[in-house]
Symmetry: C2
Subunit: 348 residues, 2 copies
């Protein structure tokens, strides 16, 4: 994200920022995919006039602070990008220009490729990293089990594991007010399953904006596994899952400005199956315009993000796909911090 | 589809049908998933009143015959079903209750799992069936190459193959008026690639309704391969592809009242990969309410539909998934006609 962009685009603060420094919203074209064409939207900004927010009272149907729930606003945001590759656009406009490294505590993310490695128990292969990530300070973790159908059973599995690691676990589906549960949480864990089902439930429960706020503004730690890693990125355009439901958009939390392909799988040279390989699918994604980097995280790999620093952990490595370039292989320990910056199309 | 449902739901003809026989629109609840809740929508129908079509002139924004292109109507239709599993709803309302077997020439479909079998050339494994399907009467085939990025190259490959089989081939992307190209076509072939990209392009070019009309009303033969087979069914909910773009809906052509999973792949007992198997993904789909049967077509298999008769062809067989039931295995030659009827939840 451009260092020049320091304005936080909430309804009021964007108006203030534009009034105070209309020139501050210049966004280089090459990073505009991160901002979902916001540069284009702001080109014609007049001081004191914010796109989408007329000078007078905003009409209910367009104002982001209207009585409409996020889940009802989201389809309109989604509708605007129909006919285009999903990019970082509203409905999460209020956080879209939030440069987490420039204000408040740093973001803290642990994005795991897979929940279980063959032969190991649930989260067994990453439990040391999880314990180190949450540390002593976190006492209870808020679990989001929306990716699986049987939420009770899923919460039971997660609770047993987290209690064995010394943490209490509250499952959001047991709360009467999911948004409030996120507001009060001290750490978030979104588990794997079907990514479409998960993202749709996040929209249905109006959670995306609140989770973004807690992680990017308040700095609470976010643990994602598989589908929970997918939704932490810009979009779920690079999920492996079957589209069993139709979310109002493919845009996700955008906690990092690129995409991840979890469970990344190398081509099987002995296979006679003619379906596309994983690499071919990601290359198809990059045939679309303005598509961000995709980090293929093999099972056993995970990405640790601490503020502006991103490090590949685990034992299996990752494959990085940049649009128009040959994919590159990366060993555990690789510093992927460049993926968090404006110039993330530059290899290290 | 219910035998009682004989009304064709085009704007004018539905009005006529309701006026003529208001009771004819009773739809049994158990087949309402085929109709996308149309039974519910039509419960309160008064003679002469069509849901969504006021007695006076229909408003532009709702009338299916308005000046709005299908691609612009589609998002609104899609928006209505957000928050629900994709079912057979508008935007294709005008064809939704069309019982193809009850009027006009019978539908003719050849739905192939895959374009190429390992070791064979493009469409090599099904060329005899293709020739037999199109026969002597068809002279030129309209090819729809939208599923791949390089349409010119794709059309070249397809043209060479079809010319070798004795057919001329016109690629729709070379036409200045794609809808008119469909109108004039004597046979349609939609090739494989990325199913999301294909479906989005069909919506963008306002082609779904016209293709439905040509196939279901005019009886021209439809050949689909891989993604082209996916879009022939109710929806693309059971595609294997990556959602590299966001179509305005997952609803597809609905030429058959069930879903297909092409490239169906049996679990690899030697794999250590922990991503869901294909069967697990389809079972996840069936965890959602009101989901139709899914026919898992292995590579090398294809489904021939001639009017009310559906037969499994090829050499590799298929696996059938019915919601709430154990999947069943089916040999080449299986009569799948029951999947075309109301009682398609009944096994043969």
């Amino acid at each position: 994200m451009s260092r020049k962009v320091t304005a936080k685009i909430a309804k009021s603060s964007m108006a203030q920022a534009v009034r105070a420094a209309p020139g501050a919203l210049h966004v280089p074209a090459q990073v505009d995919w991160q901002l979902g064409g916001l540069a284009e939207q702001t080109k014609a900004i007049e001081p004191g006039v914010v796109p989408g927010f007329p000078p007078g009272p905003a009409p209910q149907q367009h104002g982001p602070d209207s009585a409409c729930a996020e889940s009802r606003r989201a389809p309109r945001g989604g509708a605007e990008v129909r006919g285009r590759t999903a990019r970082w656009l509203p409905p999460l406009l209020s956080g879209a220009l939030h440069p987490p490294a420039l204000m408040g505590p740093p973001r803290r993310l642990l994005l795991v490729s897979n929940s279980t490695l063959r032969g190991g128990g649930y989260l067994g292969h990453c439990q040391q990293q999880v314990r180190s990530f949450f540390g002593q300070k976190v006492k209870r973790v808020l679990f989001i089990p929306y990716a699986l159908h049987d939420r009770d059973a899923y919460a039971k599995t997660a609770r047993e594991k987290f209690e064995s690691l010394g943490y209490g676990l509250d499952s959001i589906h047991e709360s009467s007010d999911p948004v409030e549960a996120v507001r009060k949480s001290e750490a978030i864990f979104i588990g794997g399953g079907n990514t479409f089902r998960l993202l749709k439930a996040l929209y249905d429960n109006s959670l995306l904006q609140e989770i973004r706020k807690r992680v990017l503004e308040d700095g609470i730690p976010y643990l994602g596994s598989s589908a929970g890693t997918n939704v932490a990125t810009i979009s779920i355009n690079t999920t492996n899952d079957m589209p069993i439901v139709y979310p109002p958009s493919l845009q996700a939390l955008g906690l990092v400005p690129f995409n991840i392909n979890p469970h990344y799988l190398d081509p099987d040279v002995n296979s006679t199956h003619m379906g596309e390989t994983r690499a071919e699918r990601i290359l198809q994604y990059h045939e679309e315009p303005n598509t961000p980097p995709v980090l293929g995280l093999r099972e056993g790999a995970m990405l640790l993000v601490e503020g502006d620093k991103a490090t590949l952990q685990g034992v299996t490595g990752a494959r990085l796909f940049l649009r128009g370039e040959k994919p590159t292989e990366h060993e555990p320990g690789t510093d992927f911090s460049f993926l968090l910056t404006d110039s993330n199309s530059q290899k290290p």
